[in-house]
Subunit: 336 residues, 2 copies
């Protein structure tokens, strides 16, 4: 089942322009990533590279590079900061797979299925340590502050999610608070460190942070919608994975609240007691369609996307600014 | 079965003098720890404080405080660095329990038995993030470098141990390399940051680091011996826990190498294939006694302890220096 979104602009928004503008820097980031996963303990590069080389878009480090460009930064620090951001993200994925007991990640077997939970936890810790080493090498205390705070906030968001797990009574506010912490905070930090090392004004730093934060929320909401349709298969996930795992994402929050008492009973049974039977996913999708839960999740995503775009308005027009704005549209366009 | 070690000096070495000298600072560290485990996500302080308040000796942060005192440091930075060191240690314990599937920790149920593996992984990540935040607040880039490197090295050591698990052919050198990384590195870093923030000379920084590194190795070797006897019960572990978990520690390395082919078959069966039957622990202890494996593990510990003491020789005599030296003897004396 595809989620269909009416679109204003004619050409399909793409991330290609951003990729093109960051290509040279990204090659340096990739080399840095490769060199910093090296260890005499062969299991470390094996586990790390299994995930790192599995074809993620590297959106987060690309944001650091693009923001450094937007800020007119002339130094080298953005390369290590971008690599650190990707390591933090990879560490989170390794730990998430253990926490969620996931079997697949990006269309491949999750690292924990190949090397075990132990290796996933420990290699995640190693990457986090290496991320901090790289940040320290850059020598910007403010960047260190931003990224170390992000590390704590992300973990806090994950625990928040764990504590709220399988709770169908979750409000939209509570849900957005969780994804703000667990997903959007790293987008925000990735975007903020660029203007910080370029010594832009506080207002400009805050603008970039706001862009990242709202793009991150947009990104996660679209991901939540995609889990119930669209091109989910291409992302290496199956339609309804979140449903099967009892995850209360925004589509469920909306369908549950808008549903009849009978329907809420269905959601509680499926989510709270993990009673998934044949036809349940189809029924869940039908209820979401009935209550416009997916369409409205995407509408909410558009709202945060609009805030992200406005956040960059105070910067003069440039190719990289346009590419960043298009990235917001690209994230939303993933849903159809 | 107690491990009996002949002792030269009459009074039993104690850690009390060190505790006394650091008391005022340690109260500030404890207050800092309490305030930095705070979170609106109630599961975080619950999990963190379950472990933090479980009566560990807080040896590692105490070393940071003592070294700052030895260095004549007059500022406040040592408080946050000591708290950061304890958080790093606590994060490691939370993750270790998941990796080792431990049920007990310090005589209490392990956090994972009460809140699950998920919470243990994520609260560990949160504490690591908070540790870095505190370090960043202190603002010493060199301290950040030391502690972030330590974080990566510790994780590397744990993976090394994982990769070498259940390998009875492990050499003593390989084993010491593992404990150097997974245990002693944090002792070394905890000791090094004191003279660093006090701006002592490089030679003095290296001396303090060397003290910590060798004390850490001593500490771990004694711990390994204790697992097969001594006051292990008081530490909240059962005699033979390492054996049951198939851990190849130095007592096993020595007993295996010194044993007959018949005996090696026993070790391989027990360690490599986890075939533990009634009477196996008693048999393992008898073989260790026959080959002096525990006594010699303690002799090795004494060797590293002596290096630790000599490392401090270039500092003028003082109460805190004497207390640090006595701490080495205290660690060794734990074994009887």
């Amino acid at each position: 089942m595809a989620v269909v979104v009416p679109f204003e602009s004619q050409p399909t928004p793409s991330i290609d322009r951003l990729v093109g503008l960051c290509r040279a820097d990204m090659e340096r980031v990739n080399a840095m990533i490769l060199s910093r996963t090296g260890s005499e303990v062969t299991m470390i590069p094996e586990v790390a590279n299994h995930l790192i080389s599995s074809g993620g878009k590297r959106l987060r480090p690309m944001l650091t590079l693009a923001m450094a460009q937007l800020a007119g930064y002339a130094g080298d620090g953005h390369i290590k900061l971008a690599a650190a951001v990707e390591f933090m993200h990879t560490a989170t994925l390794l730990h998430d797979d253990v926490v969620d007991e996931s079997e697949m990640r990006r269309g491949r077997k999750a690292a924990r299925m190949l090397w075990g939970n132990e290796a996933s936890v420990l290699v995640g810790d190693f990457l986090l340590g290496q991320a901090f080493r790289m940040m320290v090498e850059v020598g910007s205390l403010r960047s260190l502050e931003i990224l170390s705070s992000a590390a704590a906030v992300i973990a806090e968001g994950e625990v928040m999610q764990l504590a709220a797990a399988k709770n169908t009574a979750t409000t939209e506010d509570e849900y957005v608070a969780v994804i703000r912490a667990k997903t959007a905070e790293l987008f925000a930090a990735a975007c903020e460190v660029g203007p910080v090392i370029a010594s832009l004004s506080k207002a400009e730093q805050t603008a970039c942070r706001s862009f990242g934060m709202n793009l991150g929320i947009t990104f996660q909401l679209i991901d939540d919608a995609l889990d119930y349709g669209g091109k989910a298969a291409k992302l290496g996930k199956n339609v309804g994975d979140d449903f099967r795992e009892g995850k209360v994402t925004l589509p469920v929050v909306l369908a549950f609240r808008r549903g009849s008492e009978e329907e809420r009973k269905f959601w509680r049974g499926a989510i709270e007691n993990s009673e998934i039977r044949d036809g349940d996913i189809e029924h869940a999708l039908a209820l979401m369609t009935k209550h416009r839960a997916l369409d409205d999740t995407i509408a909410r995503a558009r709202h945060y996307g609009a805030i992200a775009k406005d956040a960059l308005a105070l910067f003069p027009d440039s190719a990289v600014k346009e590419a960043l704005v298009e990235t917001v549209d690209f994230c939303i366009a993933r849903s159809h």
